[in-house]
Amino acid sequence: MNQLATEEGYVTADGRQIGGTLMEMKNITLRFGGVVAIKDISFDIRQGEIRAIIGPNGAGKSSMLNVISGFYVPQEGEVWFKGYRRGPMKPYEVARLGIARTFQNIALFDGMSVLDNIMTGRLNRMKAGFLSQALWWGAAEREEIANREQVEKIIDFLEIQNIRKTPVGRLPYGLKKRVELARALAAEPQLLLLDEPMAGMNVEEKEDMSRFILDVNDEFGTTIALIEHDMGVVMDLSDRVVVMDYGRKIGDGTPDEVRNNQEVIDAYLGVSHD
């Protein structure tokens, strides 16, 4: 990446097209009682890029994602999405704008099978009326089959065919994370928010996950915002990185820039990661 990027976008070193601003956070401040989780932070996310958010534990990263997905309402600041200022919105309305996410502490629906979990990702695309659903006739059945086909594609893509019918409660951690990703993808979002998608994985699994993330970004052109503590992953995957500490933004730029920022090293990295 380079600073020559214009409003219209640019092309990355490996040939991906990055567009203009998709989402912009302006002067966000979020407080919980006395705790200030986010303090006057602004940054943007461009169309098609992979944007990482890093920072020490408790810095306010997850809170930031929660602000983006509408679960927390910041006391101050504005959120702009696709060129419009987003008014106060319920989380499910935000989801309908094309923002999907995964959660730090896996939030799958434990009582449902993998397939059903992923299908929930497509809920907003299913429009059959109540009567049709009750009688399983016409639209409901057609829609179910059509959406099932889409979901099967995602299942193939993430290589989880064999656990399709397993209740998610029984799955090991890593697979749960993958199912969560699948559920988010099923919504065919424009912006995908990933909160520590690789926590608790070994290298091999992280490699798999990286591959999925890159493929999603590449094949569907999905914009991705990602929180991750594995610096290897962050530095390798992301186009730009925001660094937070104690609710403040202490760095923003390309992985290289961030990696060499002394404040970031002190607050977060400890040693410089090569």
């Binding site: 730090q104 502490n105 939030a107």
Partner: protein, 327 residues
Amino acid sequence: MDQLVFAAEVFLNGLMTGVMYALVALGFVLIFKASGVFNYAQGVLALFAALTLVGIQQGQVPFAHLINAMLGTHISSFGWTVPALLAILLTAGVMVLLAFLIEKLVLQHLVGQEPIILFMATIGLAYFLEGLGDVMWGADIKTLDVGLPQGISDGIEAVTGEWFGYGFFIDRLDIWATIIAALLVAALVAFSQYTKQGRAMRAVADDHQAALSVGISLRFIWVMVWSIAGFVALVAGIMWGTKSGVQFSLSLIALKALPVLMLGGFTSIPGAIIGGLIIGVGEKLFEFLIGPMVGGATENWFAYVLALLFLVFRPQGLFGERIIERV
């Protein structure tokens, strides 16, 4: 003016009734706090305690009816009477034993289950105890007398009569209930906030697995809490039993305690008292002011509706622990 004085009397009586409700609610709170178990059996526990107390006091032979039916004998009583205080102590002992058995036979096997399952188990327990109480002590109505005074307090009537020209009715039993409840609450609050066991009890409520992993013995905590709850049930049973006799319907006071609980918060000991007072006053005043307009008998539902309205504004009750909503 008259109306105002009457309302004041109703208000006071509401407070007193509220205390009586709170006595039952306290047992719920303890168990909920310590194990996340919504103990529907609390009312039956009070009934069982009262039945046992009367049985011991009057020297009844337990299971007499069953024995007679099986062996064709005609036993019913040992023929002695036990002093009230000793009988209360013995009954407390029985409640501890019961707590131990409940832990051993029920709770131990349900560690880590969902709350609703535990709730159902306590309903099963309620059925069981109800049947057991009947088989052990017989289903007839019994009179409970441990020497608590009852009836209108003449002093208060005289004093208020002088002040307002209308003597207030306050039941002496209610006054006693208030004193005892205050003592109980103070003791329980101190216990849960400031002792190691109290802390462990709250830890267990949050996460059984984690509590196990740090070496808290669920068994010990549960036996302890159920014993305390059994004791609270005994106190409630004595109060209500003195008031309206000891028989099946005593177990239904649990239903009057639920809105109290809801309003005060399931996890707050002071909440049980405050909730009780609000519910007591609320339902009595409503019955007094609005009741005549809608045909009366509003008390059964009013308490619930009142609690519901409070909950809409504070979903965890007035003093309940904040419901943690995070992702």
